[in-house]
């Protein structure tokens, strides 16, 4: 499909795909003169030589700068305003983190450079590990997993190895019905069957169901705490006891750790292993969907099974990697994990210190409760259990007018906010899952509450305005059904498409 290159009144709204700007001879690169003899590529490579790079673009530097700058203006971002995506913890990403990640020896260290000249990187790995252990109350940690879901997989591999070492790997993982989709998907990747565990009327794990379902076939329970309703599992220690009594393990999905840092430690309330999301709780940027980082912290009983290598202090006091781990689950990623994210997370912890981390958590919980108070009565609150860092409403009231959570979300865009998480958790039909984080001021939250109330009024008076939203964006609602039915996943020139 060729888009005609016609002028519009707003140049940002006329930015085509980069290939449409390409023409032969334009360039944004320059190489230094070759200081070694030229080679005859045909002679060196023979049939392996490539002749043509197809439709790769040829554009100038200013065109590239404008292209991506214009594209950037079509994105919403934390830097533009409140981004209350529940369970995603869209907090401010401090810029000092970016600066220190780009210091020469940190940005350009090679993963295989000798340990003797890697002491700086090893020190960062060790320091961050120690501080995350203090924060979680656990005994040992691996930083290798590249994201939260990858951490889940690593954790369940350790669960399996632990049970296997006892002679029986067991068959299944219990997962509450309120859990994120990665939990069951991960269990499947580690070849465990998934058994659903239902929630009670408070939105917490139903203890009698757990007691009934727990047996020697269950390897572990994967529990998010606070759970996806923003509710702290008050019976957490009882849950742990029920599991432990039958030899099972308690896995905590740390997606919602922003409600606990500095206030309570999973290691103290019976958790055997957990992953953290450095891109949520520890302020590393989400970057449009990654890179993340998903360290897994564990209790001592699981230590032999950690992925390899692990960082150790050697007899001469220097740091090094230990590969001699006979019981290790193996490697889950090449090299040592998303090191650049470790640098940023450590800088965040340093900037906060113990008092700052505690205050952060307190503010996050205070903000969520403030929003709950502001919107209670306007939107249906399916669970009245106390709220921690996020609050979940439903569209029950608005649905009577035919307006659903996604419509309200789209209308919120017109008010200058990023939508909350829609239609999740699954136990709340038509969910509105709101997590403000500690980063928002009272002023920003007052505006958000006002916007949400205003939308509720619009639903009563003129629901069509909400159903047609957003009205202020570069494109209106996009046809996702058509996109999936006949996928166009790459650009092609007009004569090839």
């Amino acid at each position: 499909m060729k888009v005609p290159n016609k002028a519009t009144r707003h140049v940002n709204q006329n930015e085509g795909v980069i290939f449409e700007k390409s023409s032969a001879g334009k360039a944004a690169w320059k190489l230094p003169p070759l200081d070694v003899p030229e080679v005859d590529t045909a002679k060196l490579l023979g049939g392996a030589e490539r002749k043509d790079l197809g439709n790769m673009p040829e554009v100038s530097e200013i065109e590239i700068i404008r292209h991506f700058t214009r594209l950037s203006t079509w994105n919403y971002a934390i830097d533009l305003g409140m981004y209350p995506l529940g369970s995603c913890t869209m907090k401010y990403n401090p810029r000092v983190n970016e600066a220190v990640a780009r210091v020469e020896g940190i940005a350009n260290g090679h993963p295989y450079q000798p340990e003797k000249i890697s002491q700086g990187a090893l020190r960062i790995l060790k320091t961050l590990s120690e501080q995350l252990l203090e924060i979680t109350g656990m005994d040992a940690i691996t930083l290798q997993p590249a994201a939260g879901a990858h951490g889940e997989m690593t954790g369940l591999l350790m669960v399996r190895a632990y049970h296997q070492a006892k002679g029986n790997a067991r068959k299944k993982i219990l997962i509450p019905d309120s859990a994120h989709g990665t939990n069951p998907a991960t269990a499947a990747m580690v070849n465990y069957a998934v058994e659903n565990l239902k929630s009670d009327s408070r939105g917490m794990v139903d203890i009698s169901s757990l007691e009934a379902q727990m047996n020697e076939d269950v390897a572990a329970l994967m529990l998010t705490n606070p759970n996806t309703l923003g509710v702290f599992e008050q019976d957490i220690h009882r849950i742990a006891d029920i599991l432990h009594a039958k030899g099972g393990l308690l896995y905590m999905d740390g997606a919602n750790m922003n409600a606990l840092v500095g206030k309570a430690r999973p290691g103290d309330f019976g958790v055997d292993l957990m992953h953290l999301n450095l891109h949520k709780t520890f302020s590393t940027p989400h970057g449009g969907g990654g890179p993340g980082s998903g360290p897994v912290a564990i209790k001592k009983i699981l230590e032999p099974f950690l992925p390899k290598p692990v960082v150790v202090t050697k007899s001469d006091g220097t740091l090094g990697f230990d590969y001699d781990r006979p019981h290790s689950v193996g490697r889950v990623r090449a090299f040592y994990g998303n090191f650049g994210m470790f640098v940023r997370a450590l800088a965040y912890i340093q900037a906060n210190g113990p008092d700052g981390l505690r205050q952060t958590t307190e503010d996050a919980v205070l903000n969520a409760n403030y929003i709950r108070k502001g919107l209670e009565g306007t939107y249906d609150l399916p669970y009245s259990t106390p709220t921690m860092h996020e609050v979940v409403f439903s569209d029950k009231v608005q649905a009577k007018k035919g307006v659903r959570t996604m419509d309200i979300a789209k209308r919120l865009i017109d008010y200058g906010f990023h939508p909350y998480t829609t239609a999740f958790p699954l136990i709340v039909p038509g969910a509105l899952m709101i997590e403000p984080t500690e980063s928002e001021s009272k002023e920003e939250m007052d505006l958000f509450v006002e916007a949400m109330k205003s939308i509720a009024e619009e639903v009563e008076e003129n629901p069509q305005t909400v159903l047609d939203a957003p009205h202020s964006t570069r494109v209106s609602r996009l046809d996702e059904t058509a996109a999936a039915r006949k996928p166009i996943l790459r650009w092609k020139p007009a004569n090839q498409s």
């Binding site: 790769m56 971002a77 981004y83 309330f269 996009l478 046809d479 166009i488």
Partner: protein
């Protein structure tokens, strides 16, 4: 705000946490640091981390020049501080750039579809193999021993509990996969053959021959590409069914091993078994072109335990670096860049062959080569370090039989004078009588 909530103190809000689990004191971590102190801390760590050394290391992590506009553009808060583009109307910037990324990966690899990124090359290779298992309904895998050893380890971890038997096929005297052994290893249960090209030794595999063998037995061919710059001058493995790539070479800092950028590319007919995010083109209500995340029914948030993978967050910002890099070099620049890598490497290998033995020399290679010395490479590297040079990667950790061999890499950033100095020092080492190997090995670590 507390007043608005009708609570006396902030602690009331934490009452849902049973009192015995609430922390009363401070976490035992250092006090708050000022920005200047934080910067100072990391500058200090940088000085302890190889800053100022000339390196000949590659082996899955390559040092190429990063055009400055990459960081200028990815530092824009609209890219840096956005999340996964679920709300398409306010995420067109991220979505369109991923669409362009998918397109360029297809152009370079010769495949028809590419995803929005995976964690890295190693996990992409493992996920590609699992994809082949789903597509063929077969369970076992044949892996080239010349695949990056850490990629092999990751695959072994992923495969263990999937009941996927792995068979490893050795390489020949020319450094390439032993095709006779390969053919013997493939059975009616082989889902795929996984190779890397250029392989771990920098040698270009005979992809045609391998593809023919795999396909003859109904197995798929999965090709891992660890050095993306090679695509500028090497014919891509078009005969492959799935390509699992590491795109770090395209503008991503070495960063002590991560974050990097994996990608999976394949044929259109395989797309519904592909893991990871995909961006597709569509139209809005007014018929204007726009982009959305699509084919989500493959993914964990819809399919839960029946998903193609548990992957959720991937490497979007790193993929954006890769995207900008590919746009900067483009159709002509990528070729010229790759040619410089080839020329530097040919020169260096030629120089080294005067003083040591360059292994696997009879077949084409890209920007890495293996030098065998009579002295222990750890010992040689110990001496090089004294001259602020990081020598090639000793291979015996991964390949015990290649006892005194090391893997060297040259890119467009490697100068002739650095090559000459390194060659001179290796030659000197070869002539001298070394200290005890144990002592020098300790020095080199």
């Amino acid at each position: 705000m507390l007043k608005a909530l009708g609570v006396r103190s902030i602690d009331d809000l934490f009452a849902p946490i049973p009192a015995e689990y609430r922390l009363n004191g401070d976490l035992k971590i250092p006090r708050q640091m000022a920005e200047s102190e934080i910067v100072d801390f990391f500058r200090q760590r940088s000085r302890e981390n190889g800053d100022g050394y000339t390196s000949f290391l590659g082996a899955g992590a390559y040092s190429h020049y990063r055009p400055v506009i990459i960081d200028s553009l990815i530092s824009r808060g609209e890219f840096l501080t956005a999340y996964t583009p679920y709300q398409a109307e306010i995420s067109q910037g991220t979505l369109q750039s991923i669409f362009e990324f998918q397109t360029m990966i297809c152009e370079l690899t010769g495949m028809e579809v590419a995803n929005a990124s995976m964690y890295d090359g190693s996990t992409a290779a493992a996920e590609a193999v699992m994809m082949a298992v789903r597509l063929t309904g077969r369970r076992s895998v044949v892996v080239a021993r010349s695949l990056h050893p850490e990629y092999r380890e990751v695959l072994a971890t992923y495969a263990t509990h999937q009941g996927m038997p792995l068979t490893v096929t050795n390489f020949n005297a020319d450094g390439r996969i032993d095709v006779n052994e390969l053919e013997r290893s493939i059975t009616a249960e082989t889902a795929c053959v996984l190779i890397q090209s250029p392989n771990f030794f920098g040698t270009i595999e005979d992809v045609d021959a391998i593809a023919t063998i795999a396909h003859k037995h109904g197995a798929m061919l999965v090709v891992s590409i660890a050095e993306a710059v090679s695509l500028g001058i090497l014919e891509p493995p078009r005969q492959a069914d799935i390509i699992a790539m590491e795109a770090q070479s395209f503008g991503v800092p070495l960063g002590f091993g991560g974050p990097y950028c994996g990608v999976i590319a394949t044929r259109e007919k395989n797309v519904r078994q592909m893991p990871g995010r995909l961006v597709g083109q569509t139209v809005d209500k007014q018929g204007r072109r726009g982009f959305v995340l699509t084919l989500a029914t493959r993914e964990q948030h819809i399919r839960r335990e029946k998903a193609t993978s548990n992957i959720c967050t991937n490497q979007a910002l790193v993929a954006l670096m890769v995207n900008i890099f590919m746009t900067v070099y483009g159709k002509v620049g990528l070729k010229e860049l790759a040619k410089q890598n080839l020329a530097k490497t040919a020169y260096a290998a030629g120089q080294f062959s005067k003083h040591g033995k360059v292994l696997f020399g009879n077949v084409p290679r890209f920007n890495e080569f293996v030098v065998e010395t009579s002295e222990d490479p750890y010992a040689i590297n110990g001496r090089l370090l004294g001259h602020k040079i990081v020598g090639g990667l000793p291979l015996r950790k991964f390949y015990p039989e290649l006892k005194n061999a090391a893997l060297w890499c040259c890119t467009e950033l490697t100068t002739r004078s650095a090559i000459d100095t390194a060659v001179g020092l290796v030659a000197e080492s070869e002539r001298s009588v070394g200290s005890s190997p144990e002592e020098l090995e300790e020095m080199a670590r």
